[in-house]
């Protein structure tokens, strides 16, 4: 079995969950990675302090798209205070594959754009340690 491009990773890449636009939405975020060309945005709708629904949009590599897709399934229903506290390990563990230093940015892009939308702070992660 392929270590990186596992079946479920490619499945999420080809058929990403919770992708598209969400109108109306309460929060939004957008991140570019100018080096690799990835672009990922998110629309979030809130209800009672929790994420009621969310949609990612944009394009990127299999790792960044799959990571966002897999995370989206966990993020719906989560209180935004909890979202703000999520760390890099959460996203990496969820992805479930060994992520090299060069692909770490890909794996964290989805969580980065969501955290930026929720907290207004686009600086996360400040260091490779997340």
């Amino acid at each position: 079995m392929d270590d990186l491009y596992r079946d479920y990773i490619l499945d999420h890449y080809k058929r990403p969950r919770n992708f598209g636009e969400l109108e109306p939405h309460d929060m939004e975020g957008l991140e570019h990675n100018p080096l690799c060309g990835d672009e990922l945005g998110v629309h979030i709708r809130l209800k009672d302090g929790k994420i009621e629904d969310l949609r990612f949009h944009g394009h990127g590599c299999a790792i960044s798209q799959a990571s966002a897709s897999i995370a989206s399934e966990e993020l719906v229903g989560m209180p935004i205070e909890q979202v703000a506290e999520l760390d890099a390990d959460w996203a990496i563990d969820l992805l479930g594959i060994p992520v090299s230093a060069t692909r770490r940015k890909c794996a964290l892009l989805g969580l980065k754009v969501v955290k930026g939308a929720v907290t207004g702070d686009n600086s996360w992660p400040v260091s490779p340690a997340g």
Binding site: G37, E39, H59, G60, A62, I63, C106
Partner: protein
């Protein structure tokens, strides 16, 4: 290299269609596979290529692509190096189910 890449299904390269008038650089995309994934798969075949915007975002926009993979050959490269690139891309298509 120009001749061999035509064997790869879904591969589109940027620039003149023939080798004449080109340098030793070939920038390309593959349908259904992001440039960074292309580079990852080439790497598995021992071939180092670059992927991304290549510091040319306005050109990428003009070309209508989000990123390209880019293989470069020089005087130190041999035909076997191109063979290794093609083999790794063909293997990559299988990994991606394309």
């Amino acid at each position: 290299m120009i001749e061999r890449v035509r064997e790869v299904k879904g591969l589109h390269f940027v620039g003149p269609p023939e080798a004449g008038g080109r340098g030793g650089i070939l920038s390309f995309t593959i349908d259904g596979m992001h440039a960074h994934d292309i580079a990852e798969l080439a790497n598995r075949g021992g071939v180092c290529i670059r992927a991304g915007h290549h510091c040319a975002q306005p050109l990428m926009r003009t070309l209508g692509v989000s990123a390209t993979a880019r293989a470069s050959v020089g005087v130190y490269n041999e035909r076997e190096d191109v063979d290794a690139l093609i083999e790794s891309l063909l293997a990559g298509l299988k990994v991606f189910g394309l």
